[in-house]
Symmetry: C2
Subunit: 313 residues, 2 copies
């Protein structure tokens, strides 16, 4: 059993690689839900949908989010009703939000809702939200405190980030299924997602860091920073403005109490020694996933690295 | 000021004719909401949408309901999630249901929700629900008591109808705006909608019949039955199985305490004397509306007939 922690597009790519190279039931993905928000009265869960669509093989390959070939008639009509439509939701995607909202309103916990949707799309991996309680990432900027999607999508993550808060995180609980998956895992993989606002909220659920630290499995992170830049999204700006090194080393520092291993890109080979000094072993390889073959190759390498770390313990 | 009582497609056609021939703000349509129901967690209001789309000029001309040129990607995806999709909702149509549901959940009464949506679509007539409380038409059949859409859409209104109940009607109230429109109207037109399940619920709201009876305006109904048949829908079977004459006379009997005038089709000219014996004056003309010119011509004739009745009082 392999556990992956993932946020959106970058995390979903590696999760997809793992899903392809492992027996389908052997993968559990623990997903950031602190980006979840209400829009048009519907519960939107961006990261869990991105992981679900990617593993189901229906993700839009151009954007990484949304559904391939989706159309936008519903959104256009909502615009006609005078609504802000800067958050792009396709017609097929709306079905997911409609169904999720219906099931949540009927009283199902988010974990059961995600499981129900994923099963219907043929996903055999176990997708688990980091918690069932609502948590909201808030971003402090010179323009004020912004809801995450306002900062990320509407304002194109251009505001300097002065701080990040996960509202509601103290009321969140690690779901039993998440605790069980971590305890029984053979490896725990931190996907190359934003360490502040994607992996960060997962680790901020009370008790989560302890569970991961006490797990018998080796823990390996794949750096989302390559050559001083985030492959997508604002991780680089966020790390810099919050005072972290914009490098695999900076990411390793955030995870240092949790990791045995870190996978960094060949472009960052010079960081190996610095990270090793934190007590973290390093695998240097090509980490950029441009196609499905890249995803599977990286997944294989990460798994082999984890097995090697397990043997050494 | 003209008030029209309307259900779905047939009623919407005459309401559209009235809207076109009157100054746009001079028309108020009081709409049946007893067909409203929840689907996929969304509040669907079939008759108010049909009237709204028709007056906005965006109704699907083939079906009479839904939006012209709409697509069905959301519904297809909901089918993939394992849901029953016999009630056809287009992608643009979904926007209406999403927005309505959001506004209702925010606490707005249905009347304000309908007004908000209609205004956004450029409809200058006043569209009013018969009440703001939930009312549900239930149809008793040999197969048991069916929800209206189950009977009407899913089972194609083929079950014999043994009775009709409007659940919740005793808790319903005539909205103030409806009472005011009726009191100040220059004519009250009963559109050619199903007298049992479209106009029936409107008249069943406690106090509605009294308000209409006490109105200073002449009341004129257009028969939805022509030559012994309903132009669409199950009005003919319903009238027969509930023991009414399947004819303009049968419809006139249902409305007899309310009407001064009745408009019947030339095909039913032989009914004129029978209806006149109920104390109702009759206009015989072509009532079938095959195109927009028909709608406007019939609207003009109904208005002229109403004016004539007003002068005679």
């Amino acid at each position: 059993m392999i556990v992956a922690l993932a946020g959106g597009v970058g995390g979903a790519k590696l999760a997809h690689g793992l899903y392809r190279v492992l027996p389908p039931h052997a993968l559990t993905v623990i997903i950031n839900t602190a980006d979840d928000f209400m829009l048009f009265g519907l519960h939107i869960s961006p990261d869990s949908d991105t992981v679900m669509y990617t593993l189901a093989g229906i993700a839009n390959p151009q954007t990484g989010w949304g559904i391939a070939g989706d159309t936008f008639a519903t959104l256009e009509m909502l615009r006609r009703y005078g609504l802000d439509t800067w958050f792009l939701l396709g017609d097929r995607d709306f079905a997911t939000h409609i169904r999720r909202t219906e099931l949540l309103r009927a009283g199902l916990p988010l974990s059961m809702v995600i499981a129900t949707l994923a099963r219907a799309l043929g996903v055999q991996a176990t997708l688990l939200p980091m918690c069932n309680e609502p948590v909201a990432t808030l971003v402090d900027t010179p323009a004020g405190r912004l809801e995450f999607q306002e900062y990320f999508v509407h304002r194109h993550h251009t505001d300097p980030v002065q701080g990040v808060t996960f509202a509601g995180i103290h009321e969140a609980r690690v779901p039993d299924a998440v605790a069980a998956a971590i305890a029984s895992a053979d490896a725990i993989i931190f996907c190359p997602s934003n360490p502040i606002v994607s992996i960060g909220p997962i680790l901020a659920v009370p008790g989560m860091r302890d569970l991961i630290r006490r797990a018998r499995a080796p823990r390996v992170a794949v750096s989302p920073i390559v050559a001083g830049r985030a492959l997508r999204g604002p991780a680089d700006h966020m790390l810099a403005s919050l005072g972290y090194d914009v490098s695999p080393f900076g990411v390793a520092e955030l995870y240092r109490d949790l990791l045995q291993g870190m996978v960094i890109d060949s472009a960052d080979a010079d960081q190996e020694r610095r990270i090793a000094r934190l007590g973290i072993q390093v695998l240097v390889t090509r980490t950029i996933m441009e196609n499905e073959a890249d995803r599977q190759r990286l997944a294989q390498e990460v798994l082999a690295f984890s097995r090697q770390l397990a043997h050494e313990r």
